[in-house]
């Protein structure tokens, strides 16, 4: 016997077709009837579909703008979501205001659609602040960098919702790599045990930096959730309609006392892990080409076109919205008021803390030797 390492397991690229997940829009834009999911999106008008398209165009534009801003030195780092727009738009648009989101760092699309100012979000990646928004303003926790840690927080929050008698759910977002973490598995135990209104939203984008999903799981990720007693759906994560339908279903179940739900959205990270990564070192160009044919924006565009919508007008409007927000973000980011040394010492504790105060005052005295102050100004200025 020898040690076997199967890196290629469960790569959609190596699979025969797209029929092993729930799908409503084929890559060619054809609508696939789905008795279970259709009722959850029947209310959508052509205008609603055009809005979903605009969302995806805007999210993609913000993402490419952020990557460009990183290249220009305005951001220290950026984790692109390119290719995952349908998963994030579908999930975010399925939620209601009372639902609470616990995102990872790659959910910029979800965060922005929940109301987070994209400039505030980018300031985190600029290094100007830890989080620039109050999580309770739009029910979005600060993005989590420790892989999978936020799944516990969502389950705890969901338990709180249930105890408070609020008909809402908590949704955690994480990737395929996170499913190997103990925390994600423990969170599923807690969610199942307490029947918590928690939705686990896994974007299986096939890559955890350089490691393919086969190194994380030798079965479909959704299968694992079922082992915890949590109903799970494997959905085409590049199909915004299917993601919206499935997430609505999951949230409805959670809100109505049905307990937790697990969604594996099968998608693809078309860009690098972050702007510091070089995916050409570990993956084939052919794989990227395969996924480009399954682009989430193209298929909704094709479907709208086939349905007789004025796609040219829709695209123009979407483009205008994207250009506008990108320009605002670029302008606001450059106008960022950078934090002062005083901010360094703030909010470590709620209550007064003698050590922090001592160290702040000491540093202030140190700065004064150079004619500077804790407030970032010249002393006496």
């Amino acid at each position: 016997m020898s040690l076997q390492i199967d890196r290629s397991a469960h790569m959609e690229f190596s699979s025969a077709g797209d029929d092993h997940f729930e799908q409503m829009l084929k890559p060619c834009g054809d609508r696939v009837p789905n008795a279970l999911n259709d009722p959850w999106v029947n209310d959508l008008s052509e205008e609603d579909l055009a809005d979903l398209y605009t969302d995806m165009v805007v999210i993609r534009r913000l993402d490419t703008e952020a990557t460009a801003l990183q290249r220009q030195g305005e951001l220290a780092l950026w984790p692109p979501l390119l290719g995952q727009e349908a998963s994030q738009v579908g999930a975010a648009r399925a939620m209601q205001k009372d639902d609470f989101v616990f995102p990872s760092y790659r959910e910029s699309g979800v965060m922005v659609l929940r109301g987070v100012n994209p400039t505030d979000l980018m300031r985190v990646w600029r290094g100007s602040s830890a989080t620039s928004w109050n999580p309770y303003d739009m029910n979005v926790a600060s993005p989590q960098i420790i892989i999978g840690a936020q799944t516990h927080h969502a389950v705890g929050y969901a338990m709180g919702l249930a105890m408070d008698g609020v008909d809402a759910a908590a949704v955690s977002f994480f990737g395929d790599g996170a499913t190997s973490q103990g925390d994600v598995n423990e969170a599923m135990v807690f969610a199942a045990t307490y029947h918590a209104p928690a939705v686990f939203f896994c974007q299986n984008n096939h890559w955890a930096i350089s490691e393919p999903v086969g190194l994380q799981s030798q079965t479909h990720i959704a299968e694992r959730a079922r082992g915890f007693g949590i109903p799970a759906v494997r959905v085409d994560g590049n199909d915004v309609l299917a993601v919206l339908a499935v997430t609505r279903r999951a949230l409805d179940q959670a809100r109505n006392g049905g307990g937790p739900f697990f969604i594996e959205a099968v998608t693809y990270r078309m860009g690098p892990h972050t702007t510091a990564d070089d995916p050409t070192r570990y993956r084939d160009q052919a794989e990227l080409e395969h996924w480009k044919e399954r682009d989430p924006l193209d298929r909704l565009s094709k479907y709208l076109e086939k349905s007789g919508a004025d796609m040219e007008a829709i695209q123009r409007r979407a483009q205008e919205a994207a250009d506008k927000i990108a320009a605002v973000v670029r302008k606001e980011l450059k106008e960022t008021v950078e934090p002062t040394p005083r901010n360094l010492f703030e909010n470590v504790y709620v209550n007064e803390h003698p050590r922090i105060n001592e160290q702040r005052d000491h540093y202030g005295a140190y700065l004064e030797q150079f004619g500077e102050t804790l407030d970032g100004t010249q002393a006496g200025a």
Binding site: T131, Y136, S142, G156, A187, T193, Y349, V350, N351
Partner: protein
């Protein structure tokens, strides 16, 4: 603190009973307080600290949790996000490490990360220390890891009276608190009659002069405070007057109280069960030296557990500082003959 607060009349009470009464008061006075942990409900905890609380407050206030420490703390973070005031129990000191990431990366940092928007008023109860003849992982003193983590407060009561108020003050604190309970004193008894009047109640961050003295300042916390008081009594026979300081708060350390004492005595001994290297003794010795070096008649002395994994229980009496080893440290601080004498000048 309002007049509506419920308190029960206590008489002669064990350390565990005082904690139980404090937890009961916290549950009764704030509907957002939740207890969670392994075996804390039906069983009342392996040390019975939560005995009867689930029956009294229901299984939604006192939750038996799955056997997963990271899950207990992580779930409590989510409950705190939702406005609850969770009081998770880690069953034994050596079991806290699976939750280390949630404590250090989440509990300690969320207030800072969110610019003060989210508070985590969580009290993590951990029975700690040795002396009860337990197997591996049941007798550790991991406090330095948490003292080293900005964003956490760390406290340890040393008596039933301290336990009664400190658990309530920790739960009422808006910051996360790691609450170390000296498990070998759980059965110690003290008359708590009238304690509900709060006469000797100190703020959570304050040290207490447990016994006044003139010649040496002896600082300790948790399980060794009682030993240190016995040390002071024993030394009295030889005409040595020891001032014993119960640290109570390990983070932040109340240096004001220690410094005032050392300025008076000129000599400092610190005792703890935890290993020497990187322990609280190093922090206290340095902090005092920085503050009042010229008042010191002798270098600060540390009497601690050795730098070892906690040993098998038949050896623990050689590991945990006892009365004689602390007296030996006091002798050293007083330049009297002691176990270090033969090393001096070499």
């Amino acid at each position: 603190m309002t007049a509506l607060q419920k308190t029960e009349k206590l008489g002669k009470t064990t350390f565990g009973g005082a904690l139980n009464a404090g937890l009961r008061a916290a549950l009764a006075n704030d509907p957002k307080v939740l207890l969670m942990g392994e075996d804390i409900g039906k069983l009342g905890g392996v040390f019975r600290i939560t005995d009867g609380l689930q029956a009294e407050f229901g299984e939604h206030r006192v939750l038996d949790s799955p056997l997963a420490e990271s899950g207990i703390i992580g779930t409590a973070v989510g409950l705190a996000y939702r406005g609850y005031r969770p009081v998770p129990e880690i069953q034994f000191d050596g079991f806290v490490y699976p939750a280390f990431d949630q404590i250090v990366s989440q509990v300690a940092k969320i207030h800072y990360r969110t610019g003060g928007a989210v508070t985590i008023p969580m009290t993590i109860r951990i029975p700690f220390g040795g002396g009860i003849g337990s197997p591996e992982h049941h007798s550790e003193s991991p406090e330095a890891y948490f003292v080293h983590t900005p964003g956490l407060r760390v406290v340890s009561p040393s008596s039933p009276a301290e336990a009664y108020w400190m658990i309530q003050d920790a739960i009422a604190c808006e910051d996360p608190v790691i609450f170390f309970e000296p498990k070998r004193h759980y059965h110690d008894k003290q008359d708590l009659t009238g304690i509900e009047e709060g006469k000797d109640r100190l703020p959570l961050g304050a040290a207490r002069v447990a016994r006044e003295g003139e010649h040496v300042t002896l600082v300790s916390y948790g399980s060794l405070v009682k030993t240190c008081l016995n040390v002071a009594t024993a030394a009295e026979d030889e005409g040595i007057s020891i001032e014993v300081i119960d640290l109570r708060s390990l983070s932040p350390i109340d240096f004001g109280t220690i410094e005032a004492s050392v300025r008076k005595t000129g000599r400092l001994v610190i005792a703890h069960e935890a290993a020497l290297t990187g322990g609280l003794g190093a922090e206290i010795a340095t902090g005092v030296t920085e503050r009042c070096f010229h008042y010191l008649e002798h270098a600060p002395v540390r009497v601690t557990g050795w730098d070892l994994p906690y040993p098998p229980s038949k050896l623990e009496k050689h590991h945990v500082p006892d009365l004689d080893r602390i007296l030996d440290g006091v002798d050293r601080a007083l330049d009297r003959p002691n176990s270090y004498s033969r090393f001096e000048g070499k």
